[in-house]
């Protein structure tokens, strides 16, 4: 049975499985799920009533979270007296670069299943400005548990949602169990941004939740853009971002706007170029996404930029590429060496280093694709094309 927001239905007794899924499914790693066990006053009472990846079960074992599968097993018979509602929330991991609202998803879904119950609550995410949602709540009504579908939330994320139930998420991280004297020295705080230098590659370790969506962004100074009477433009620099992909199985692909080879995330080549910024109006430049959950399929990715038309004034462009994997520091590759007369720049190489992502700064200039290909030995066949 499909529910709509506000609608409710009985869930029976015993064990109920609540699953949270999203479309596109490969974005699941960028989402956090949590549950709030509430008393009659609508507050989380006592410790452990806020169930999340840092506290995957309440003390009674009534609500148990599998954070990887984003599912809760709720044993209704074990829910302590005084708990009248269990709120199920979905929020965007604040560590995911560029992901600020659910509008970047097509759809979200809460499903509640038990031997005799199959409740589905699909939520269309288009246009949603929220980054944390109350997907639904189990609640006690005349002695029986029901599920109400909601899909309502907060633009500001999990913090305002949790405050709604009396939980301060900044304090909700699990407290260290050991006494201070027995604790190992705290590791140095990881920097949030690293400026890559040539010949000093950095390897990104795979986080427990996987790499998620890796975002590669190219931004530059566009120079003087004059708007004509009819909105045309003249001058300015147009850089195109692209990559050459080599998979572990030997398959190779080129992803770039030229030739409309935008790629895809949910299937090979597991890399996708977002819309080409030819207007010079976007502040965000050009962005390439790599499905980090399929990093095992990759051997290497060569990130490059080229100047499709106009003079190759690399120095004036002040181009910068950032590589952001969720939970890892942002890697910055500045195009701080320039070339005149060459329209192509190999910027960075991402290599699969035993599951890690090794990122090497290149910033080497070539006349065009074939010369760069030859230097990095991908072995494509090249022909001229137009956008």
């Amino acid at each position: 049975m499909d529910l709509q927001s506000g609608q409710n239905a009985p869930v029976g007794g015993g064990l109920v499985r609540l699953a949270l899924t999203c479309d596109p499914p490969n974005q699941a790693a960028s989402l956090d799920v949590s549950a709030f066990m509430l008393n009659a006053a609508g507050r989380v009472s006592g410790d452990g009533g806020f169930v999340f990846y840092g506290n995957p079960s309440d003390p009674a074992g009534a609500v148990r979270l599998d954070p990887v599968a984003a599912t809760f097993q709720v044993d209704l018979a074990r829910v302590p007296m005084g708990i009248e509602r269990v709120v199920i929330a979905l929020s965007i991991d604040p560590g995911v670069a560029g992901l600020r609202a659910f509008s970047q998803f097509r759809a979200l879904r809460l499903s509640a299943t038990s031997p005799n119950v199959d409740l589905q609550f699909p939520v269309v995410a288009a246009g949603m400005t929220e980054s944390a949602l109350i997907m639904g709540e189990l609640y006690l009504r005349n002695g029986a548990w029901k599920l109400r579908a909601l899909g309502q939330g907060f633009v500001g994320g999990l913090a305002p949602l949790a405050r709604n139930y009396g939980v301060d998420v900044s304090e909700a991280a699990p407290a260290p169990a050991a006494a201070p004297a027995q604790r190992p020295p705290a590791p140095p705080t990881a920097p949030s941004r690293i400026d890559l230098k040539k010949r000093e590659p950095i390897s990104l370790e795979k986080p427990a939740k996987g790499f998620g969506q890796i975002e590669i962004n190219l931004n530059w100074t566009r120079g003087q853009v004059k708007r004509g009477l009819f909105g045309g433009k003249s001058g300015g620099i147009d850089l195109d971002l692209g990559c050459m992909v080599e998979h572990a199985d030997g398959d190779k692909d080129v992803i770039q706007a030229l030739g409309e080879r935008f790629g895809r995330l949910d299937a090979a080549p597991f890399a996708k170029l977002l819309g080409d910024d030819r207007t010079g109006e976007s502040d965000s430049g050009e962005t390439l996404l790599i499905n980090g959950d399929r990093w095992a399929a990759f051997k290497r990715v060569l990130i490059y930029a080229f100047i499709y038309d106009g003079a190759p004034h690399w120095a004036a462009a002040n181009a910068v590429v950032t590589v952001q994997a969720p939970g890892s520091p942002e890697l910055v590759v500045a195009l701080d060496e320039h070339s005149t007369g060459k329209g192509m720049c190999a910027i960075a190489l991402l290599e699969n280093d035993g599951g890690r992502i090794r990122v090497t700064k290149l910033v080497e200039y070539f006349a065009a694709h074939p010369q760069m290909d030859e230097a990095y030995r991908f072995g494509f066949q090249w022909q001229a094309g137009r956008k």
Binding site: Q4, S5, G6, Q7, N8, T129, E130, I134, R141, K146, R148, L150, Q152, G153, F154, V155, G156, L161, N164
Partner: protein, 189 residues
């Protein structure tokens, strides 16, 4: 002490507040605590005759028609967000001014633009209606709608009705899934 009604229950306002003539009916609900489109709930009062239908179109009182021609039923105006202390919307009834052929006054609320905002009473908490004797300021009756609402977009809270010389109030708490249209259909505007 006001009488707390439960669904289906009734109370004689004339007995609880002898001599009562002007009554403020306050309707309330909890505004949403989440972000997103605000809930704009509108109170509605319909003066119906013995046949259960509205006396005439001007006796359907809502945000576009704030009073009956005889001022027997006067809507105090629209509260657009449900924010603020106390009742969200107030409708005043002047009993002696009600036309002789009026059998009851039905109190309801509808959610404005419920379809486009995808809102319903399943998302609204703690709805109530209460009656206050204007002369004394005393609350005579209160009905907390504790029903487990779902996709209803309009809701009949209760009805004020005549039983011989008495004015009584009945707690209803029943909804329609099609908003104002459901009310219009049933009360024949």
């Amino acid at each position: 002490m006001p009488v707390n009604l439960t669904k289906g229950g009734n109370v004689s306002l004339t007995k609880e507040a002898p001599g009562i003539s002007k009554i403020r009916f306050g309707l309330g609900w909890d505004a949403r605590s989440t972000d997103g489109a605000a809930f704009d709930l509108d109170a509605v009062a319909v003066v119906v005759g013995a046949n259960g239908k509205v006396l005439s179109q001007p006796y359907f009182v809502f945000f576009n028609n704030l009073a009956t021609p005889d001022k027997s039923v006067v809507h105090q105006g629209d509260n657009r967000t449900g924010a603020g202390e106390g009742d969200d919307e107030v409708i005043e009834v002047d009993l002696p001014k009600l036309p002789a052929e009026s059998a009851k006054v039905v109190f309801a609320a509808t959610i404005y633009e419920a379809d486009t905002r995808k809102q319903n009473f399943g998302q609204v908490a703690n709805a109530y209606i209460r009656a206050v004797d204007e002369a004394t300021g005393a609350e005579v009756m209160r009905f907390d709608l504790s029903e487990d609402f779902s996709t209803e977009t309009s809701l009949v809270f209760g009805e004020l009705y005549r039983r011989e010389a008495e004015w009584k109030f009945k707690a209803v708490g029943a909804g329609y899934a099609d908003g104002l249209a459901g009310l219009v259909r049933d009360y024949g505007v």
